[in-house]
Structures are given as C-alpha cells and as structure tokens.
C-alpha cells in the first residue's frame, strides 16, 4: 500500500436554491496516494468540479460544505483557520483549470503574474530572485525562450503555452498535490498530448500527486493510476485504472465505455446511455442511476446502494454487480 497524501471522508457540499436543496457532493470518500494520479471521471453535473472546489474550500456562495473531512497528511483542512488555508492553497495544493485564458489576467505580463503567485508564499525574496525563479519555472514547463516569454502578455501565447504558464504558476511553490480540472479539454489533440506528457514528466521529477478531473476516458487511461467514477454527486465505482477498463462493474461505467467510439474496433452503433443526468434538485430515490439503467430492478428504485468491495481494491455502488452473476441467478430462478 502506498502512503496516503490526501483522504476525503464523507464529504457533503450543498446549495440552498429556490428549486430546493442541491446536493452537489453527497458523501464522497476518496484517497490519493503520494506520487500517484487519481482520475475523477463523470459527465457535466456529476459534481466532480464541486468536489475539487470543496477540497480547496473555494465553494462559491450559497454553497456550503456541511459534512465530512478533507485530511491532508492527517490534518483536516475543513477545520483550520482561513489564514492557514490560504497557505495551503498554492503552497501544498495547487489547481489548474480548463480554460487558461480566463484564469490569467490579460492586462499583466505572464512573468508578473508568476512572480505575484510566488511572492505570496515567499514574501522575503528580492525582485531579482523572484524573476529568476519565475524564469526557471517557465523553463521547467518546457516553454521555449522563457526570458522573452516572461515579458509577454497572455494573448500573445497559444492555448497550449497558456496552459503551460498555468502549470508553471501552480508548481511554483512545489505543491504536494495538483488538482487539474479538465486541463486539456479546450486544447487540440496534439497539444493535449504535449500537456499530458508534461504533467507526467513533472510528476516523475517532483513526486507530486495529481487529482485529474476529466470526462474523457481516454485521458484517464493515459494518465490515472486510480479512478473514481462519479454520478449525480456520488462515487459509483472506485478502483485502479487498469481494473476499471478490464473489469468495469457499474452500469454507468459500462454505459460510458460503450458511448466512446473506439479506434481499435468497428461497431455499427454506439451503446448510448438513455436519458440525461437528472437535475441535482430532483435526484431520484434509490440508486441515482436507476432511471437510466437497463438492469434496474425494484430494489434499485428504493434502496440507495452503498459502495461495497467486489474485488481486492475494487468498490462498486450497485446492488447487482457483477451483473452477469445477478442475471444468471435470475434466469435460474
């Protein structure tokens, strides 16, 4: 067993809205090992971004984290004072987002923004020293001629370069955990491949852990060591990346796998999941996937399935997993 860096227990984040109580994150347990990558997969509205914001204590109003623990090396981040949390953000945990242009300030040079981020965590360093460190950070993310780029504005950079700058800023203070929320979704495939490659190299260099949030199973297969599949605010399957693809258990995971066209096989029709993700103020009773699940039985409509161990290190929240056994027993009866 690898050493654990971050442990999330029973995390619950809710929004009180006019349409009712929105349970964006509803009792999530996670674990991130040192130096490893945890992929969080799910479609829009499944709560994966809200989960990462809850970890960072950046949930926007009127949202509140009402229950659970976020343990970073044993320290519960939900209990510490705001000032200490500010040191954790950017210091121990850093974050990068999907659209680098909206995260960068268009009226300041790239260099100034990196220096600004560094100053928060090492206020005593001289301007010259900070500039030197910033250029080193740009070099570390393989930006060509970093001295020149230091004085450029975000609009002068390509999308891939901007994401590199964001990564440079995020890694400036050597965080132990990087949360990457759809970091390559806005990029072209060849640039996506460059950025994923870069993240892997940087992880090997620094030994940081990564939480990678994505909707793309290909990216998960490429990057993650462990995976948590989320649906409607809950984790429905949790295992190693290899087991997720070799031994997918939850019907939602199966639906996702069937929905992606594969380059290595020809199929006439894709195995689409019927319907759409339910709105978060109207989650169905029982298993939240039951209205879309082809295997749903009466029990699924009333009783919420807990995560349970089906194999070593493989947890599934489904009454009927593994499905082939459930079906065989049914037809025998």
């Amino acid at each position: 067993m690898q050493q654990e860096l971050l442990r999330v227990e029973g995390l619950r984040t809710v929004f009180q809205t006019s349409s009712g109580l929105v349970r964006a994150v509803d009792g999530v347990d996670l674990s991130v090992a040192r130096g490893r990558t945890l992929g969080i997969v799910g479609e829009s509205g499944c709560g994966k971004s809200m989960l990462s914001l809850s970890i960072m204590r950046l949930v926007p109003q009127p949202g509140r984290t009402v229950d659970g623990k976020v343990l970073l090396e044993g320290r519960n981040l939900l209990d510490i004072p705001t000032g200490d949390m500010r040191q954790v953000r950017g210091g121990q945990i850093a974050m990068i987002f999907q659209e680098p242009m909206t995260s960068l300030n268009p009226v300041h040079t790239v260099g100034r923004q990196i220096v600004e981020a560094m100053k928060v965590h090492s206020p005593k360093d001289s301007a010259a020293a900070l500039k030197e460190q910033a250029i080193a950070a740009l070099k570390r993310v393989r930006i060509p001629s970093p001295e020149r780029r230091f004085d450029e504005y975000p609009h002068q950079l390509s999308g891939g370069m901007r994401q590199r700058v964001m990564i440079a800023m995020a890694l400036a203070c050597r965080p132990r955990l990087l949360i990457a929320d759809e970091p390559t979704t806005a990029l072209d495939v060849t640039v996506q491949a460059q950025i994923l490659d870069l993240l892997r190299e940087l992880q090997a260099e620094t030994g940081m852990s990564i939480i990678l949030i994505t909707h793309d199973l290909g990216v998960v297969a490429e990057m993650a060591d462990d995976v948590a599949v989320m649906y409607a605010g809950k984790v429905v399957e949790r295992t190693s990346a290899r087991a997720l693809f070799e031994d997918p258990q939850h019907p939602y995971t199966l639906g996702l796998l069937g929905s992606v066209p594969r380059l290595d096989e020809d199929r006439d029709r894709l195995l689409a999941i019927e319907g759409a993700v339910p709105p978060p103020f109207a989650f169905p009773d029982g298993c939240r996937f039951n209205p879309r699940c082809p295997f749903a039985i009466a029990r699924c409509r009333t009783e919420m399935p807990p995560l349970r161990l089906v194999e070593d290190g493989h947890e599934v929240a489904c009454h009927r997993a593994p499905i082939e056994k459930a079906l065989a027993m049914e037809s025998a009866a």
Binding site: T190, A193, D216, L263, D264, E265, P294
Partner: protein, 354 residues
Amino acid sequence: MSVLLEVSDLAKHYPVKKGIIRQKQVGAVRAVDGVSFSLRRGETLALVGESGCGKSTTARLVLRLIEPSAGSIRFDGQDVTGLDDGGMRGLRRRMQIVFQDPYASLNPRLTVGDAIAEPMVVHGIGNDASRRAKVQELLALVGLRPFHADRYPHEFSGGQRQRIGIARALAVEPDLVVCDEPVSALDVSIQAQVVNLMKDLQARLGLSYLFIAHDLAVVKHMADRIAVMYLGAMMEVGGKGELFARPRHPYTRALLSAIPHPDPSRRGSVTPLGGDVPSPMAVPPGCRFHTRCPYAQERCRSEVPRMREIAPGQQVACHFSETLPDVPAAQSNGLTAIAAHRLALYDAARHKVG
C-alpha cells in the same frame, strides 16, 4: 454513386490592414488556401483538423454563408459560386447546416415548433396546418415528444437541443447537411445518442453529410471518407478504412497517435508532435507542415507538395509519403472478454427495456 458536391481550389483570404485613415493591406490571413474535394450522394465526408485549420470556414464557404476569394463549388452539377441571391435561395433549401453550440443556435423567443417550422416558412413550403403536421413528424423522427413543440429552448438539455437543431435542418428536406462539430459540446453519453440518431437519419432519408469535427474517434464512427486539413490546406483524403489503417501523411499519423485511447496498457507509447500550429498570416513556405514534421527534408522547405493519388481513392500531399518509415501498428487489445460480455448484456437489456 453520383457526385453531389464538388469543390475545387477553394480559397478564402482575409486582408489584414494597417493604418487609421489611409488603410493599406499589409498581409492576408489565409484561412482556406486552395482546397478541393468531392462528396457523393448518401455519403459522409468528414473534414478533420485542429482549430484554425480552416474546416469551419470551408463549411461556410460551401453554403456560401461567406464569399470565397477563389475557386469553385458545384452542387448537383450547378456552379454555386456565380449564383445571384434568388438562385441561391432555391439551392439553400437543399443544403442545410447543424451548428456546434445548441445553446447559441436556437432563438430563445421561439417555441420549438416555430423554430422547426421557420425554414419552411422562409421557403414558402405548405400552409400552417401542413407545417404543424410536419413539425410533429420531425419531432418523432429525432426522438422528441409531440408536446415539445410548445416549449421553449431553455427547457431542454444540450442533447435535446441538438435534436431540435437537426429537426430544423431536416424540415425542408435537404440533400446535403453540413454538420459543424455537431456533438463536440455534448457529454459523451449524449454524444453517442446524437451520433446514432444522425446515422439512422442518413440511412432512412439518404442524406449526404459534410461532417466537420476534430474528434477522430467520432469521425471514424460517422464517416465514409475523411479529409485531413492543416493550416488551410488539404493534407490527405481517403476512405476511412485505409486512412486509419495506413495513414500516408505525417500529419495524419501525428493526429491519430495523439488520441488518448481508453486502454491503459497502451500508456505513454507515443511521442507527441512538438510545437504549435503556425499563424495563418505567416504560412510557412514549401510544405506548410514542415516546421513540425519529424521527417522534413530540404525539399519540404521550398517546394509545395501537390495532392496526388497514392492508392485508389487515397490522395496525399507529401513529397515523401512512399518512403516514410512504417509505424508499428497500434497495439491495442480492445476490450477484455469480461468487459465485452458486460457491454453485450447492457446492450441486450437496453433493447428489452426500450
């Protein structure tokens, strides 16, 4: 199969001007720079490439939503480039478009029924009663309910909106549907629904699709033939099977190998292409891909490679496509037996329920 759409040497250059009072042209953005292809009846041709390669501009040129700088477009034997507005209106009925963003392409003030009927009104097809009947028929065709006609776009999810967009395009019974990234804005499970719907509609109605996309996995699923664009020009055109099995252009190869596969055993097996796409204002001389091409030689820097037939139905614009080193075939084992078995069970159960 007869040819429905024939495009030759199509170009769109946007002038770049400088100066406040007396503007002078200092350059041009070569968005589309001499593109030729043809689309047969009932076929899907995919235009693929990364952002800025000119694929969407090409789509808009084909519909003459923007005017080309050079080249010709023939639709069903008729030259479209010289047509006046009246002649064009008649043709537009036969060529429709489905846009990428279903949130931006529907008028929020129109009910779904009115939005779908609008193209029929514009083209003076039928009367109120017949149009209402047609709207009902179209809603059923794209998998929506009759009562949806009286609702407004904001009441629908992204996938449903894209269905409405498709129904609207089909209202005037077109021959050609240009699909500009129709599933890129949708979640994967919804993407699959829309892709399946589009394939069904093509089979039922004999539609021809010009399918613009950047996701090659989706393209492989949808297209019969594929045209790969880079920086405003065509790099390779070929049947889907050949193009995926034996890509002949270094760019096609790079594009194919960059796709992350849903298979962890293949992890880290590719070296990504370096660098960025150059600006279309400063297209490199010679082969426009040479600045990023791992096989570039002296000749590539000076001489523009012509598009040439290298195998039946497969054309490529590369000086050295015959002598490119063979790439080892992508090692992918596909699904494991248990995963495939469970997917089959899922599919069977889905049909029983539906």
